[in-house]
């Protein structure tokens, strides 16, 4: 393995340290709730290990009643994770020309958080598939380990909500967002995205608000760019 590849991986893992810590906490909440939804220990840990998608897993807990409504579980997973198609498309430059035997396993370690960190690096010109993989693997570990811990420790984690830690992920995304600021040309698309997302969240149920806001904002940005030309 090349030295630069290795150091990018380490850099990715290091950069995701705050997310790693908060990810453990988030995952303990999942483990705790999974136990209350009467999943077995192995079901909870395997779900975190193979699905590794917080949104889909929290959603699944709500529908986890025997006999399991598998069609509903799968449709829910599809809807809340549809955003990965859009996020993944923005990662293309990283994986262009990379053999599938490397890119396909790396794309398993694809979460909102390491996507956001990687897109920040890409803007600086230092994004790489190794960085993506390093940060993703760290987040994955925290998610699986946290699920097991939460399942075992259970009730002792209930104070988390009072500490402002439930807000931690909003804060992380906000910090990464600050790095995407492009001066005045950002104002209009950002405002449109924020308003559309809030409106969708408020009036339309489900997880569509992220896609709706993102598309509305990006289309506004394109129109701005074409007007300048």
């Amino acid at each position: 393995m090349k030295n630069t590849t290795y150091s990018s991986m380490i850099l990715g893992a290091w950069q995701s340290l705050p997310i790693f810590i908060l990810g453990i906490i988030d995952a303990t909440v999942f483990g705790f709730l999974a136990r209350r939804a009467s999943l077995s220990f192995s079901e909870s840990v395997l779900m975190s290990g193979f699905v590794a998608s917080g949104t889909a897993q929290f959603l699944a807990l709500n529908a986890w009643v025997k006999p399991l409504p598998i069609a509903i579980l799968l449709t829910g997973t599809l809807l809340v994770n549809l955003r990965y198609l859009v996020l993944g498309a923005t990662l293309r430059p990283l994986f262009a020309g990379m053999p599938k035997r490397l890119s396909l396993p790396a794309l398993f370690f694809f979460y909102d958080e390491n996507w956001a960190l990687t897109s920040r690096e890409m803007r600086k010109g230092t994004g790489s598939a190794a960085f993506f993989f390093g940060s993703g693997a760290a987040i994955y570990l925290s998610w699986v380990a946290g699920t097991a811990a939460g399942y075992i420790l259970g009730d002792q984690f209930r104070w988390i909500g009072n500490w402002g830690l439930d807000f931690a992920f909003v804060v992380i995304f906000a910090a990464i967002l600050a790095d995407h600021w492009n001066g005045r040309q950002s104002v209009e698309p950002w405002a449109v995205a924020a308003i559309v997302a809030c409106a969708f969240r408020h009036w339309i149920t489900g997880e569509w608000y992220v896609l709706a806001g993102a598309l509305a904002g990006s289309i506004t940005a394109i129109r701005g760019a074409f007007k300048q030309k």
């Binding site: 395997l46 779900m47 994770n81 996020l87 906000a174 967002l177 600021w181 950002s186």
Partner: protein
């Protein structure tokens, strides 16, 4: 583990992975310098704001204030850790106060 929970977990895992891997595959079919590519370049920031804005609003005044604090600290320091910590500390103090 019984068969229906195995099937549910395997199905959820497969659906999620296909979506994760599918985006990169789809993007290969986007012509360079097209509107679609411009759209993709602008998506990351707009995705982030679409996650952040409704969530901040949901947490009320303290949520919005903590989010703005984070963005300001990030713009000043460029440190993810500092910005995150100050945002969390801010909302913690606000909640303890009120």
């Amino acid at each position: 583990m019984n068969i229906d929970s195995t099937a549910a977990i395997a199905g959820m895992a497969l659906v999620t992975y296909l979506l994760r891997a599918g985006g990169v595959w789809l993007a290969k079919r986007v012509p360079p310098n097209s509107r679609t590519e411009l759209l993709l370049q602008n998506l990351p920031a707009c995705v982030l704001i679409s996650i952040v804005a409704p969530a901040a609003l949901q947490h009320g005044v303290s949520g919005v204030a903590a989010t703005l604090t984070t963005i300001l600290v990030m713009a000043r320091t460029r440190s993810l850790l500092l910005a995150t910590l100050s945002g969390i500390l801010f909302i913690f103090l606000l909640r303890a106060w009120t």
